[in-house]
């Protein structure tokens, strides 16, 4: 779908916002530069590369060097946005992410593009469902999963101003706008999108809009679901998770990622520590996905409004059965 067609349909590819915001920031801040791994098209940075050729570094297909060189650019006073398909950016350069960024606290903004199962039919080699588990355990590394174009832009502006490493997980699948135009991202803060005390739906990224849709379906059945956008994965809003555990009958976590180690893992850790409650983790359940489009795969793993609704109902039945 073209950008115009998407807009007409009311959905937006966050990469368009990403590219526009990076160019906007570069216009007023000479420290902003982009580093890519031959991923000019998939990061939508062609226009940036033409407008700011001196501040555009294409290291070729070489992710270890991409992250290491970004650390060096930061050492030299630049603010590099290091962009590549999330599957390669994280897996191929994990030690550089840990040491050169997290441990060394270099001011690099890692931008994992087309994350989750965006590359659908290309298969598990190109899926990035492990990145949240890998990145959120690295000290000093802030991990942010924007839910829509508005949050993508405000999270990028925040990332520019935050001195330290950030991992921004940018999706490819078009999503509707959820947040108000004047929304401002704050790290470590869950965003309450809908009140409710029967069950809590905690989601991030492209699945936040589906969680909201599921809450609408549950409302029609007389069940009030609290919906939290957990875009800030690290730091995570522990208080909001504990409140959800205390004030509702159970929590469903929803992410386009493995159920191990990501949002579901983080929420399970917090409630186990502070207020044990029933948690149902929706995501990819410890398997490599079968062949299929991202649309098919999200349905396959129950990551649809109906799938989330069913999981919430099942959770409430389990709790009621004691």
């Amino acid at each position: 779908m073209s950008a115009e067609a998407e807009e007409k349909a009311g959905v937006f590819d966050c990469r368009d916002t990403f590219a526009a915001t990076l160019a906007e920031m570069a216009a007023t801040d000479e420290r902003i530069c982009a580093v890519v791994n031959d991923s000019v098209g998939s990061t939508k940075l062609k226009a940036f590369s033409v407008r700011y050729p001196k501040r555009f570094v294409n290291v070729g297909i070489a992710e270890q060097n991409m992250v290491g060189a970004s650390a060096g650019l930061a050492n030299g006073g630049m603010i590099p946005f290091c962009c590549g398909a999330s599957c390669f950016l994280t897996a191929r350069s994990m030690e550089q992410v840990k040491v050169d960024l997290g441990y060394a606290k270099n001011n690099v903004k890692l931008c994992g593009m087309s994350s989750g199962m965006a590359y659908g039919e290309l298969g598990p080699t190109h899926h990035s469902i492990e990145d949240l588990a890998w990145t959120r355990v690295i000290p000093n590394l802030m991990v942010v999963v924007p839910a829509d174009p508005i949050e993508t832009r405000t999270a990028m502006l925040w990332a520019r101003d935050h001195v330290g490493p950030v991992f921004l997980r940018i999706s490819r699948m078009p999503v509707p706008k959820i947040l108000p135009e004047d929304f401002v991202f704050e790290p470590g803060k869950a965003i309450a999108l809908r009140p409710g005390n029967d069950v809590a739906l905690l989601a991030n990224g492209i699945l936040v809009s589906r969680a909201l849709e599921a809450a609408g379906l549950l409302h029609a059945q007389g069940i009030e679901a609290r919906v939290l956008n957990m875009s800030s994965m690290a730091p995570i809003d522990r208080a909001a998770v504990v409140a959800a555990a205390k004030e509702t009958r159970g929590i469903v976590t929803i992410e386009e990622a493995s159920v191990y180690g990501g949002l579901g893992g983080a929420v399970a850790e917090i409630v186990a520590d502070e207020h044990p409650t029933r948690v149902k983790r929706l995501g990819v359940p410890g398997v490599f996905a079968p062949t299929g489009s991202v649309k098919f795969l999200l349905e396959h793993f129950g990551l649809t409004a109906q799938g989330i609704q069913s999981a919430a109902l099942e959770l409430l039945r389990t709790v009621a059965a004691g």
Binding site: G60, G68, N75, A104
Partner: protein, 283 residues
């Protein structure tokens, strides 16, 4: 004072020789103190480090984070004792700190941490990290039109890490003639002689093939080190690789060219003998 260039170099060489003796002594004392470390590599790279810090690099010891300083990236981070001792020789680090090497809560970790020690530019230890970081530093200087230079010291065994060759291609593509890689070519890695594990030869040809200027020097000859490091870039538009042929364990006869001293720890008696040998020429 009027001095000819020859006398100036000679004087500098004497200062370097004296500083290197102290750095080697300190490094061995530190490894002996902590019962951990990599003395063989500390001793092979000492002359390179003191030449860089005391005669080549533009860095203000009172303000070692000044934005336009020359950068030095110690890619072979396991030789942290030599790095810390050199930083002390350059008065960037308090010499008294050296006695805390690897102690609980010391700033002087086994592998250097730039957030703890002023003058350390990169957190290294896992190998193959330094050259990509150094390439990024050199790119930053180019983007800003600044004249500061970036030096990076890598071990020869370390070049078995593929990340170095990713950075090598990138540095040539971006014509980073403000970047200088020095290879501590001591021919020994942790397990054995490099050529018994993965043959590095012909090492110079590898770098030339990747688009770099290559200079081979005796890594313990201050004249050759000063000349090569003081005359970079060798060719405009090309990064420079200085292959410094060194002897692992240099300066302590029973440690020289022996793989077991990669991370061997000297006994009390060995430390005393080593220091006596190192300091015998101290005037």
């Amino acid at each position: 004072m009027n001095t000819t260039p020859v006398e100036e170099v000679h004087a500098t060489q004497n200062q370097l020789r004296k500083a290197a003796r102290t750095v080697r002594k300190h490094a061995l004392e530190m490894v002996h103190h902590s019962r951990l470390g990599h003395p063989g590599g500390d001793l092979s790279c000492t002359d390179i480090l003191v030449t860089l810090y005391l005669a080549v690099m533009r860095i203000d010891p009172r303000n070692p984070t000044q934005p336009d300083r020359d950068r030095f990236i110690m890619s072979k981070g396991h030789c942290s004792a030599a790095l810390y001792a050199t930083l002390a020789a350059a008065t960037i680090l308090e010499a008294a700190e050296l006695k805390t090497f690897m102690d609980p809560l010391s700033k002087l970790n086994g592998h250097p941490d730039r957030n703890k020690v002023a003058g350390v530019e990169a957190n290294t230890g896992p190998l193959g990290h330094g050259l990509p970081i150094a390439a990024g530093c050199a790119l930053a200087a180019k983007m800003q039109g600044s004249s500061w230079r970036t030096f990076v010291l890598a071990g020869d065994g370390e070049l078995q890490e593929g990340s170095n060759w990713e950075a090598a291609m990138c540095a040539a593509q971006y014509k980073l003639d403000n970047l200088v890689l020095i290879v501590d070519r001591n021919r020994i890695q942790q397990g054995d002689f490099t050529e018994s594990i993965i043959n590095m030869n012909p090492l110079g040809d590898k770098w030339r093939a990747f688009g770099w200027s290559v200079v081979e020097v005796d890594g313990h000859d201050y004249g050759q080190l000063l000349h090569s490091l003081g005359s970079v870039p060798v060719a405009p538009g090309k990064p420079t690789c200085v292959i410094a042929n060194t002897i692992k364990g240099r300066g302590v006869s029973f440690m020289e060219n022996k793989p077991e001293w990669h991370h061997g720890v000297p006994s009390d008696r060995q430390l005393a003998a080593a220091i006596q040998e190192l300091m015998k020429d101290e005037a």
